[in-house]
Assembly symmetry: C2
Homo-oligomer: 640 residues x 2
C-alpha cells in the first residue's frame, strides 16, 4: 500500500453548508413529479395540490334515523292525550337511515315513536320540529370548502373525507426512489449461509431502507459489491437513470479500499466529502447526471445519523412535507458529557421519568454499535461549538421510542446481572409496553445514583466484609430515605477460565502465578469488592496480579476477554462463563438484591416488576441458569 493511493478528504463542511450546496445544485421542489392515484389507495401519500370539496357531503337531505319522513306542519298538535294519524304514503313515508328525504318532507320521526294501528295510517303522539333527525345537505362539508392542504400526508380518515366529497382520484407526489449499493469485501448477504471469521452480514440497506420506507420512499438494493472500483462504478452507472437517489454504502472514508469518492468523481462530481457530524462524518454527497448520489458511512450508527441529518430532510423537501416529524422531550443531563468541539455530536441516550424529572443518561458511544440504537430512547445533539454537556444541562432529544413507552420505563443503575436481562424480557412480555433499562456502573455507583435521584432502583451485591451481610450496610451508610430490598437471586461467583483450563487455575491464589493475566472489574463493583476481600484474606498484594489495573464493566466483558485470549482468567458469575462456553471454578455464593426507594414501591411500574420477580415462570427461568439459586427470590424487607 502506498500513501499516494489514499484519498484525501475534501475539507470537512458544516452540515448547514453541505445542505446549502445541495439546495443550490438540485431543485428539490421539482425533483420528483406528481401522479394521480385512487383515493382508496392513498394512505401515507403526500397531496400534490390543495383539496377543496368537489361536492357537498351529504349531497342531499337524508334521514338520520330509521322512521317516517313527515312534514313538520302535518304533525303539529299531536300529543299523548290527542294522538294524530298520518296517511302512509302521502303524509308519512317509511325511511331508513341514509335514505334521501322526499322533496315535500322536512323531518323524520324515529321508528320507536311511531305507532301502527292500521295498514294505511300510523299514529304519532308528539309533533316533529322542522329538520328533526335530518342530515342536511352540506352538514359535513359544503362544496368548494377547504379540506386538506398540499403537502399533507394522507391518513385513514382523509381517505374517507376524499371519497365523501366525491373525489375518487387524488393527485399525489410520486414516491422518491432510492437505490442502495452495499459494498465491502467483509460484507456478506444475509441468508447466504453462516458467517465465517471476519465477515459480517450486510444490514445497512435493510435499516436505512426501512427508515426510508417509513418516510414514503420506494427502495431497491443491488447485491453486495466487493471493494473493486470498476464494479462499484458500473453499479452506479447502470442504475442512476432509474432512481432519484443512489446510495453507495461504505467506502466513503479515506481507506485504501474506499472507492466511492473516485467513482463519483469519474461519473460526475463530488460536492461534499466530510460533514461535521459525529457519527456520520465520512459522508460523500455528489451529482451524477443530475441525480443526487450519496456515499454513506459503513458503520451502522453513522449511516443512520447521516440518514437523519441529510437524507431524511431532502426527502421531506422532495415530498413537500416540511420538517421531519421528530418528537422531542426536554430532559436533564445528570453528569458531564465531554464532546469534541468542531463536530455536531449525536449521542444516544436513555430517557427516564424519575419522580417527574425527565433524565437523559448517555449510552456508550460507538458508531458500530447498532444495538445501542435499539436500547436508545432518544438522540441528543451536542452542538459543534460546544465542548460537551454539563451536569444539569437541559437537552431536547428526539425520541426513538413512543413517549408512553418511555414513561413506563424503569431505569436501573448499578451492578449488572444476566437475570436483569431476563427480568427485562419477562417484564416486557407480561406487561407489554413496560421495560427495564440498566446502566452498569457497579453496585456502589448504583447506590450513589439512587441517592441522587437518578434512577428507580439499584441492583447490588455488596458484601460487608465484617458481618458477611449483603447490601443493608451500604443502604444505611449512603441512603437517607426508607428503601425496600427485594432479593433477585443468589449466584455463584468464580474464576472464569478458557475451556479446558489450560493454566490449571484452581483458586484466587493462582492469580499471581507467572503467565496468568487477569480480567478485573471496576472499583465499586460488588465483584471487585469480593475479589479484594479474598485478596486481603489471602494477604495477596493486588499489584502482583497482571491485569489488575484494566477494568471491565460487566461480567460478560470479563468473559469475552477470556474467550478472546486477552486474559487467562477473570472473576465473574457462572452464567457469563456458561454463555460463552468457558470453564468455571466456583469461589463464593452471594446475594444479588434490588434496592428500591419506598416512595416508588407502589408505582405501577415497580408493582409490575415485583409481580414478575415473584412469578413461577421467571423463577424457573433463572433457576435453570448455571450458578443461580432462587431460594430467596422475591423476598422483600424494608430498611428505614
Amino acid at each position: 500500500m502506498k500513501k499516494s493511493k489514499r484519498n484525501i478528504y475534501l475539507k470537512k463542511k458544516p452540515l448547514t453548508e453541505a445542505m446549502s450546496i445541495l439546495f443550490e445544485k438540485f431543485d428539490f421542489d421539482s425533483y420528483i413529479g406528481d401522479e394521480e392515484i385512487n383515493s382508496t389507495e392513498a394512505l401515507g401519500r403526500v397531496l400534490a395540490s390543495t383539496i377543496f370539496a368537489a361536492s357537498s357531503s351529504p349531497n342531499y337531505h337524508s334521514a338520520a334515523m330509521d322512521g317516517i319522513a313527515v312534514s313538520a306542519v302535518d304533525t303539529y298538535g299531536a300529543s299523548e292525550s290527542s294522538p294524530k294519524r298520518l296517511k302512509i304514503g302521502s303524509e308519512a313515508v317509511f325511511i331508513n337511515t341514509g335514505n334521501p328525504l322526499p322533496d315535500d318532507k322536512d323531518a323524520v320521526i324515529m321508528i320507536e315513536d311511531v305507532h301502527e294501528p292500521g295498514d294505511e295510517t300510523v299514529e304519532i303522539i308528539m309533533g316533529a320540529i322542522p329538520f328533526q333527525h335530518v342530515r342536511s345537505m352540506g352538514e359535513d362539508i359544503v362544496a368548494t370548502e377547504f379540506l386538506l392542504p398540499k403537502g399533507h400526508i394522507i391518513r385513514p380518515f382523509d381517505i374517507g373525507a376524499l371519497l365523501g366529497v366525491g373525489l375518487t382520484k387524488v393527485n399525489v407526489r410520486k414516491r422518491p426512489k432510492i437505490f442502495f449499493i452495499p459494498t465491502g469485501d467483509e460484507i456478506v448477504e444475509p441468508g447466504s449461509g453462516p458467517l465465517t471469521f471476519g465477515k459480517v452480514y450486510e444490514s445497512n440497506s435493510a435499516v436505512i431502507g426501512a427508515l426510508a420506507l417509513e418516510d414514503g420512499v420506494e427502495t431497491k438494493r443491488h447485491p453486495v459489491v466487493n471493494d473493486v472500483f470498476e464494479n462499484i462504478k458500473s453499479a452506479v452507472a447502470d442504475n442512476i437513470d432509474d432512481y432519484d437517489i443512489v446510495i453507495v454504502i461504505a467506502g466513503s472514508s479515506a481507506g485504501t479500499k474506499d472507492f466511492t469518492r473516485s467513482v463519483f468523481d469519474e461519473l460526475g462530481e463530488v460536492l461534499v466529502h466530510g460533514i461535521n457530524i459525529m457519527p456520520g462524518k465520512p459522508t460523500i454527497l455528489g451529482n451524477v447526471k443530475g441525480k443526487l448520489v450519496v456515499g454513506l458511512p459503513g458503520y451502522p450508527v453513522s449511516a443512520i445519523m447521516t440518514y437523519f441529518n441529510v437524507i431524511r430532510p431532502l426527502i421531506a423537501k422532495m415530498l413537500g412535507t416540511g420538517e421531519p416529524p421528530y418528537e422531542r422531550v426536554t430532559a436533564t443531563v445528570l453528569r458531564d458529557i465531554p464532546s469534541r468541539a468542531g463536530n455536531d455530536e449525536f449521542l444516544q441516550v436513555m430517557i427516564s421519568n424519575v419522580e417527574g424529572n425527565i433524565i437523559a443518561s448517555p449510552l456508550p458511544r460507538g458508531a458500530g454499535n447498532i444495538t445501542t440504537m435499539v436500547k436508545a430512547d432518544g438522540v441528543v445533539k451536542i452542538d459543534s461549538l460546544s465542548e460537551g454537556l454539563m451536569k444539569g444541562d437541559e437537552v431536547k432529544p428526539i425520541l426513538l421510542r413512543r413517549k408512553d413507552e418511555i414513561e413506563r420505563g424503569i431505569l436501573a443503575v448499578g451492578s449488572h446481572d444476566i437475570c436483569l436481562d431476563l427480568l427485562s424480557a419477562d417484564l416486557s412480555l407480561f406487561y407489554p409496553g413496560h421495560s427495564l433499562a440498566s446502566v452498569n456502573v457497579g453496585s456502589l455507583g448504583g447506590i450513589i445514583a439512587l441517592k441522587n435521584g437518578e434512577c428507580h432502583l439499584t441492583g447490588a451485591h455488596l458484601l460487608d466484609p465484617e458481618t458477611g451481610q449483603y447490601n443493608t450496610w451500604a443502604v444505611k451508610k449512603y441512603i437517607e430515605e426508607p428503601v425496600t430490598i427485594v432479593t433477585l437471586v443468589h449466584r455463584t461467583q468464580g474464576l472464569i477460565v478458557p475451556k479446558g483450563n489450560p493454566d490449571g487455575i484452581s483458586t484466587i491464589s493462582d492469580l499471581v502465578k507467572d503467565g496468568v493475566t487477569f480480567a478485573n472489574r471496576q472499583r465499586g463493583s460488588g465483584t471487585r469488592i469480593l475479589l479484594d476481600y479474598h485478596l486481603a484474606k489471602l494477604e495477596i498484594d493486588p499489584t502482583e496480579i497482571d491485569g489488575y489495573d484494566r477494568e471491565e464493566f460487566t461480567h460478560m466483558n470479563v468473559a469475552v476477554r477470556v474467550l478472546g485470549g486477552r486474559a487467562s482468567c477473570g472473576l465473574g458469575i457462572a452464567a457469563a462463563s456458561a454463555a460463552l462456553d468457558l470453564d468455571f471454578i466456583p469461589v463464593d455464593e452471594e446475594r444479588y438484591d434490588l434496592i428500591i426507594p419506598q416512595k416508588f414501591r407502589d408505582d405501577e411500574r415497580i408493582c409490575a416488576l415485583i409481580d414478575v420477580i415473584n412469578s413461577e415462570k421467571f423463577k424457573n427461568k433463572i433457576g435453570a441458569l448455571p450458578g443461580y439459586n432462587t431460594k430467596e427470590t422475591g423476598v422483600e424487607f424494608s430498611v428505614e
Copy 2:
C-alpha cells in the same frame, strides 16, 4: 313494511362486558399463529419470541480506524524527540476499519499518525495503549444477551441488530387477516362513475382498512353487496374460512334492511348486539365457525369508534403488542358539554395551546361527518356515568394528529369567512406542519373568546352603526389588553337567492314580502348586526320576516339552505353564493379583520400567518374571488 320485520336490539351492553364476552368465547392469544421470515423484511412485524443474541457483535476484534495494527508493547517509548520504527509486516500491519485484528496485535495507530520514511518500516512518534482504536469482540452485544422481547414491534434499528447478532431469520406473529363486506343499496363503488342522486361512495372499507393496515393487519374487501339477505349471507359464508375476522359494514342496526344480525344468527351466533358507545352503538359481535364476525355501523365516525374501541384492542391482543399506542394530552374544557348518561361518548375536539394552556374545543357532533375526523386533533371520552363535561374540567383526549403539529396550530374563534379557509390552506402550504383551525361563533362570540384566553385570534366584521367604523369599538369595549388588528379583506355582503331570483328580490325591504322565507345568521354575528342595522334604518320589524328566528352559523350554511329550497333568500357574502352557483344582490361592503392580542404578535405561528396574508400569492388568490377586495389586506394597526 311490517313492524314484525324489524330486528329487535339485543340488550345494549357496556363495552367492558362486550369485550369480556369475546374474551370468553375466543382465545385471542392463540388466535393466529407464528411464521419465520427474513429479518430484512421484518419491519413492523411483531416478535413471536424473545430474542437473545445468537452471536457476539462484533464477533472478532477489529480495527476501529484505518491505520496500522501493532502490539502495544512494541510501541512503548516512541515520542516526537525519539521516534520509533516498526517493521511492516511483522511489527506493523496496514489495516482498514472493520478488518480483523491479527492475533498477535492488540492496538491500532491511526494512519494520520503513521510516518512512512521507507518501504519496509514506518515511523511512529507516540506509543499505543492496548486496545486503542480496537473494536473488541462483543463491544456491541455479547452472545446470549437479551436483545428484544416477544411482542415487540420491529423497528428499522431492530433489523440491524438482528442481523448484527447473526439472526437472518426471525420468528414473528402472522399478520391477522380481515375481510370487509360493504353493504347497502345506496352505496356505490368508488371509481364506478359519478354519483347519482341519493348515492354515496363506499369509503368505510378503505378507512377502516387503512387503520388496520397501520395496525399490522392484512385486509381484503368484497365488492359492495346490495341489501339482500342471501347475498350478504353467502359473502360471509364463502369467506369465513380464509380470514381471521369478517366485518360486514352497515346494516348492523334495526332498520328494515339491516340484515347483518340475521345473517350471523343463521351462520353462527350473535354474541353482542348494541354497545354503550356513541358513536358506534349499533355494533354486532358474533361467532361464525369459531371466527369473530363484526357488524360495523355504516356511519363513518361510528365505524371508526367501533374500530378504536373493539377491533383495535382485539388485534393488539392477537399480536401480543399490548395496549394500543394512543398518545394523549391533558387539556381543559372551556365550556359545558352535556352528554347523555348511559353511553360512553367519544367527542371529537380541536386542541390548542394558548399561552401554555392546552384547550380542547368540541367539534360538531354527527356520526356521518367524516370531515370532522379530518379536522379533529383528538377524541375525548365522556364516561357513561357522567352527564357531560363541565367548564374547567380536565380531559385526556387521545391524539389524532402529531403533537408537534398540534403545538403549531393557531385557533381562530369568531366570524367565518371563506378567506380563512384559503389562509389556512396557504399557511399549511408555505409553512408545512402549521395550521389554522376556526371555530365559527360569530364576531362578538369570538371577541368574548379572545377576552377569555380561549383562542389566538378572532375574525370579525363588527360595524359600529353610529360611526360606520369596524371592530375598533368592540375591541375597546370588551378587551382590556393591547391588540393588533390586521385587515384580512374587504368583502361584499348581499342577498343570496336561488338561480334566476324566482321571487324577484332586490332589496332588504323585500324580506317581508309574502312567501319569502329568510335564512338568518345567529345573534352576535357581524352579518346579523349588519342585517339589524339595515332593518332599523328601514324601520322594518324583524318579527315580520319569515325565518328570522332560525339561526345558521356560517355563510355557507345560509347558502345551502337557499340551494336546498329551505329558504328563498339569505344575507351573506358573495363567495358563498358563487360557490353554490346561486344569484347574489349586493347590499354593502364591509371590512373583515383579524384581531390578535399584542402578546401573540411575535409568536412564530402568528408571524407565519401574517407573512402569508402579506404574500402576493395569497392576495391574488382571494382578490380573484367574487365580492372580495384586497385594497387594505395586510394593513395592521394597534389598539391599546
